[in-house]
Symmetry: C2
Subunit: 357 residues, 2 copies
């Protein structure tokens, strides 16, 4: 009996409000998952992440595979225990990372061989070992290995990648079933590829749906596509993916994208933008993006965002945050990341309320 369940709470058009149940508690959808690449949200404690309103976090199986290794984390009792996060965790399989460093990787029908970014050693992942890796890491949700061609790739390459993604998904699904499926305490999501070709996207979605994954991701975006190209992928998702499973738009990214995605029926988002921009002294606010090093904030006593209730906005002025940014204090990155994640969670709250209205 699976502990995983997508509960639909409200719907308005394609926009859905729901709740996804996992063995480590549930998260409300639309959901934004901040990214703790190497089993740590950069500069934030789990306590601080929780206080932003985040319920689900993401870690990256690829990075943890390289260091400290899946065995070490498995011996610690898995990711939750290791990193001190007792809520739901999703791990990305690493496909995107491997292929975004394409000059270091070599793909064949069986899997992908690549060089470690840490020490240059040769590593290999297949659809099966990727799933074994995530079984050892122990997140609530694992992702299958997919092939992500560049956004501007030749249609032939996109078609071949989609073929492979589909074949790899089948192998991952079979292995996962042989372990007892989600009943073993870990859901597995398939990833729809197919570039910007609507027919290819639809065919890939159909094929994956027939494999009955616990959820479905829309992959291959945020690699240089336009808004129109994103619309193609979203359209396929909305019409092809089953209503009773969560839909996850991987690695996308900005407040506008969240609204477009959620209104097209996406339930789940993740992105490094709030923490990466935070460390670069940028804040997302209701007034737009704010570069805190700008002189105009030097004597600005207002909080970053006038409506925000995060710790940063409750406690500090733009003037103080600018001082930290100019002085190169690492606290700037922490405080701006806290705000940015909280702000993204506020957008999710608004989208959930819109679905219920």
């Amino acid at each position: 009996m699976s502990e995983f369940r997508f509960e639909l709470i409200a719907q308005k058009g394609a926009l859905r409000r729901g709740r996804y149940h996992t063995p480590h508690g549930s998260f409300e959808t639309p959901c934004f998952a901040p990214v703790g690449t190497r089993a740590a949200l950069k500069g934030l404690t789990p306590e601080q992440v929780r206080a932003t309103g985040s319920e689900l976090i993401l870690a990256n199986a690829y990075h943890l595979f390289l260091r400290p290794g899946q065995e070490l984390i498995a011996r610690r009792g898995g990711l939750h225990e290791f990193m001190g996060w007792d809520g739901p965790i999703l791990t990305d399989s690493g496909g995107y990372q491997i292929f975004s460093l394409a000059h270091l990787s070599k793909v064949d029908d069986d899997g992908v061989t690549f060089q470690s970014i840490i020490n240059g050693s040769t590593k290999r992942l297949t659809p099966e070992t990727t799933l074994e890796l995530q079984r050892d890491l122990g997140p609530d949700i694992a992702m299958v290995l997919d092939e992500c061609p560049p956004g501007d790739a030749d249609p032939k390459i996109v078609r071949r990648a989609e073929d492979r993604t589909r074949a790899w998904a089948r192998r991952a699904r079979d292995l996962h079933d042989s372990w007892g499926g989600a009943g073993r305490g870990q859901a597995v999501f398939g990833i729809v590829q197919g570039g910007t070709d609507p027919d290819l996207r639809a065919a890939c979605a159909d094929a994956l749906v027939s494999m009955e994954f616990d959820g479905y991701a829309i992959g291959g975006l945020s690699v240089g596509e336009t808004k129109d190209q994103m619309a193609v992928a979203l359209d396929a998702a909305a019409h092809q993916l089953p209503a009773d499973r969560p839909r996850y738009l991987m690695g996308v990214g900005t407040p506008d994208d969240f609204r477009i995605g959620a209104r097209a029926g996406v339930d789940l988002f993740d992105c490094v933008t709030p923490t990466r921009h935070g460390r670069n002294n940028q804040a997302f606010t209701r007034e737009g993006r704010m570069k805190l090093r700008n002189l105009k904030y030097a004597e600005d006593d207002r909080p970053l965002d006038l409506e925000c209730t995060c710790y940063t906005c409750r406690t500090f002025s733009r003037a103080y945050l600018r001082h930290l940014a100019i002085a190169g204090e690492m606290l700037a990155g922490t405080l701006l990341s806290i705000h940015n994640i909280h702000y993204f969670q506020d957008i999710m709250t608004e989208l959930r309320e819109e679905a219920s209205s």
Copy 2:
């Protein structure tokens, strides 16, 4: 009527337990003040600093003079408001910083001229402008400007520096009195210099005591002196400084020094060690210093310190902290700093209990 008062709670030999009252609340002594050099504890929020048991924090007038400047902070309502710390704050005058960068500074009887470490511009501080600077920054406790010769300086240089320190203290005291003294909401502490010459230390202490400062610091240490040399300074303090005012051993530094200092009658300590060592992946523990990058911690599931109750020790294993250190995650510095400060506060608690026993 002054809002500042040193309340003696217990004494055992020279070891004192007390409480110092300020307009922003009181702190128990012996007290360890973590250092927020540029109006920020590196990588820690005020909330996290508070949770380590810290009651008093230190900021550095010299650094804030250079950036963002005293006027900007004064217009924000002062340091407490600016940095979101509502407890007591002490600012160091900057003497130590100016003189530890001696190749960039030129001292005369009236003050000191130095180059900004930020942009090389020429700056000047005198006993009077140092106090005006701190009046603008608005800490609860301000320090006079002193001259700190190197630990190995020629006796003549030490004597001249002591002369100057004494003359500067007089000028600072007079200016402070002309403002209404501590009744204006800011205490001012004198600084005993005199190197390792017991007579010079005693004479400096006597002279300062006759000026009736709100508290007395023992300066010029932690610049290369031996334990014997520290004993000279501490001995002068214990015998010359009045019992009804707090005694502050500046910039010192390790658990052993705290015990030696407190048992010689010191009430107040500050040092960057817990945060600096934390950022360098080192922990202070009851088992001694721990270098977290060491391979032997890779699979160590114990907390840093088996008896510690800090957030880091309650939540994370040595294995996880080592992973963060090896991966270069900024969270390592934050979590180790939290532990180190908490550990130093535990030592203060033990010393207070010893005084009461």
